[in-house]
Assembly symmetry: C2
Homo-oligomer: 494 residues x 2
């Protein structure tokens, strides 16, 4: 589905051969240079760091890459683009998975990188808030909170390079959602630059604020199509005193779901992680990363492995008592066949590493059809049973690599070519049909075709085809109201 | 500020003497009767239950009170109103505090009561969700959850008569927000009827769903100005195994704020309530409700009383150990002067009753200028010190009745006439000046003029004067986009 632009040209000469006339473009570039300084308006050389997405599925070409360092500079850039009727593509860490933050191939879009807006503006420990600029790397936000012995709980694989602005623009999920919510629930206030270049300072650090429409929530998850997030006030939590991690094996997804219910009941808000991994997912990890130890031996009678994490506000001994009590009860009642509790931080990290290695192992195994779907937790097992059957019937021998955040009903339900079939051939021939089977089933089970990755360019057509027409019409009304010229990240989401 | 319409007329005759011509009105009434049945279109007799707000500050007159029983009937009503260009005022339990759910005095608005949409459609225990219609009374939702040994944590004084639709339309807060969030955070999906009478079925029970703009969040807190919420899918939690409640006395609000930090650190997510009550607030309770026992004797050296609530997922003994440890540490470090722990459910209820009796005691004492404000928790003490001084300087002897949800930074900072001054006179002469002092200070301290009650008609002018012009313009753009004829609850919010 990736659109393929011409490879990025080497210099400015080629870049001006666009549908915009050269004098108009020169005036825009001059205005941009006036806004941010000439050194921060990039038009020449290798711009692939901004123009090619992380998965290398989208290769675009920007009219210019502009790197403002302050909110005022972002506003000046957006005013310049507004004056010239130019489209704007905001970009954070460029780690997105749906092609939402690279320019298209037209060479007419200005890419606004927020990477230089990277200050933590304030930490207010007594208010449990932190205010960070959009370009702050997620890990830097986590570290700034930890320096005050506080926790910013958003956590995902790309945390070393994704930015908080991107996290909010995509309403990022990750591994702690069942306890702390998505990025949306972790944000109290935003600063946003509108398409016209006005600054909305909505950086309140308030737990309650009922003064009109939820503008904050509208920009969160809008993928840069309504405005540019430049800063956010984020919720912090007390650091847990202790964390426990375990792997447990289950006979089926129904047992895993019942284990989740038991964990909710026994650990209450102490339950902070509940991941699931199918046997094939761990088999691929073992094949491609044999150095990673698998604490539980593969057991054909218990092919599903669950990773349970508990965070405890009291301490190690209390945590261990609760955690082992949960696992013993689960063993006794037959919900799990076996369990291994991490005895050290290193062992805990190794368990998480197994989980995080799955997408990498899949990539080593060959291209596959990825799905980031959500379902009511109560329907996950039935969905997987029904959809596995449909796919096996349509594509005998197809390999279903299934893992994800069961605690949130979020599966990465990925479809890999049968053994012996070339991955590229399978994708080329069957990707569309696979998507149709999976997304049709998602619809029947009351689920979502994008749980945490967003829509971007990748799922735009699926959204148009599958979202309720009433919802789509409302979304288009909002888009028209807040971005009347359609210049904000065009071609994404809607 | 309340506008005073003529008292409701006794019959249909007077009601048709409006600016709409009688034939037009007759056609609309006919269409409404076709939509819901003639018995559910009320135009005669005493309609004050719908036309007068709970505080009796707003007295309006409806063209008709319409009582649909299903979402399809709501849609038919809204289509009829759209066809006749008629304004619609949605109403739940009519317990709001800002005049957002009664018609104006024009006699041209159709009041749509959601009270008959009162079914709990489903409880999905494994998904920790419940789907309820808008007219469900909050307490009925709590009870439906409890019947499955689950908790719906939204809790507020009006829970016996307010409805979940109204709770969502106003993004209700209450006493459990510091742990569970506002109504917004407790809602996963909505069903909404648009001004044109279309039904958006967004009733997903999904923890993650990144498929476009946050329509759900836009309708939540919009006070019926964008559409009519007809049903919602709500988040449930495990029931706590035990609850502890205590009162503690503090020398000042700074000590109370430091106690809050200590409670966060020691109880983690077990901290579910943290209320504060000023000495004068409890003095008024003692004066007007002498039968209510005050467990802590008044102490001039510690005039602030805090109510702390802990919810525990393990049990009574564990809860008590943690809770008493917190209070002992606070006593030792001098954060609190004294404390009383409830030894029974009855004692716990009595403590909450003291807190809940404050507004009633204030009403007995005489009319007062009420404020529902939010501040960063870290700035509450400084705000109160500064604003108390300003008010005392402007109105010597003025009595500041201050209480609220300190855990959320939400104060009900109410201003009562000096002893010996008639309340009505004080209000008539000084309400505006008091508001100006308080709201100016709220602005300087980064706060909100409406924490949990909303804007309605009461604070519409303040909002227009005080909200950022950029935010107001964005809100007006959204209103125009989703309600182009301005027929949804006109004169409220914007």
């Amino acid at each position: 589905m990736g659109h393929e632009g011409a490879p990025p040209g080497p210099g400015g000469e080629k870049r001006s051969a666009q549908h915009e006339g050269a004098p108009v473009k020169a005036a825009l570039l001059e205005a941009l240079a006036a806004a941010v300084g000439p050194a921060q308006v990039l038009t020449e050389g290798d711009l692939s760091a901004w123009e090619v997405d992380w998965r290398k599925r989208y290769r675009g070409r920007a009219l210019a890459v502009v790197r403002p360092a302050t909110t005022a500079e972002v506003a000046a850039v957006l005013r310049a683009c507004a004056a010239h009727g130019t489209a704007v593509v905001p970009q954070g860490g460029n780690t997105g998975l749906v092609g939402a933050s690279v320019p298209d191939a037209s060479g007419t879009q200005v890419l606004v990188s927020l990477a230089r807006l990277n200050r933590v503006r304030a930490v207010d420990a007594a208010n449990l808030t932190l205010t960070a600029e959009a370009g702050c790397v997620l890990q830097a936000v986590q570290e700034a909170a930890a320096a005050q012995d506080l926790l910013f709980p958003l956590s995902l694989a790309a945390e070393g390079s994704c930015t908080i602005g991107g996290n909010l623009a995509t309403n990022a999920g990750g591994t702690q959602v069942l306890r702390y919510g998505n990025a949306r629930e972790l944000c109290l206030g935003l600063e946003v630059v509108t398409p016209a270049g006005e600054i909305w300072d909505g950086l309140a650090g308030l737990r309650k604020d009922n003064t009109g429409y939820a503008l904050r929530d509208l920009y969160i998850g809008a993928e840069g199509t309504l405005g540019v997030i430049t800063a956010a006030t984020l919720k912090l939590c007390p650091q847990p005193a202790a964390r426990m991690t375990a792997l447990a094996s289950c006979a089926d997804l129904e047992a895993a779901t019942r284990l989740l219910q038991l964990a909710h009941a026994r650990l209450g808000p102490g339950l902070t992680g509940f991941e699931v991994m199918g046997d094939l997912a761990l088999t691929l990890v073992a094949r491609h990363f044999p150095q990673l130890r698998r604490p539980l031996a593969p057991d054909p009678a218990a092919p599903w492995t669950v990773l349970v994490e508990q965070s405890d506000s009291e301490g190690e001994a209390h945590a261990r008592g609760l955690f082992e009590g949960l696992l013993e009860a689960a063993l006794e009642s037959g919900l799990i066949a076996d369990a291994a509790v991490a005895e050290s931080v290193a062992q805990s990290k190794a368990m998480w590493h197994l989980r995080e290695a799955i997408p990498l192992a899949q990539a080593e195994e060959g291209a596959n059809v990825k799905h980031d779907i959500a379902l009511p937790v109560s329907r996950v097992a039935a969905f997987v049973a029904a959809t596995d059957t449909l796919l096996q019937r349509a594509f005998p021998g197809v390999r279903l690599v299934n893992f994800g955040h069961l605690g949130d009903g979020n599966l990465h339900y990925n479809v890999q070519a049968p053994d012996g079939v070339a991955a590229a051939d399978f994708l080329r021939e069957h990707e569309h049909a696979v998507n149709t089977i999976v997304y049709d089933a998602v619809g029947r089970f009351g689920g979502s075709i994008s749980a945490e990755h967003g829509i971007g360019a990748l799922k735009r057509d699926e959204l148009a085809a599958r979202k309720s027409p009433v919802a789509l019409a409302l979304m288009r009304d909002i888009k028209r109201a807040l971005d009347p010229d359609g210049r904000m990240n065009p071609g994404r989401v809607l």
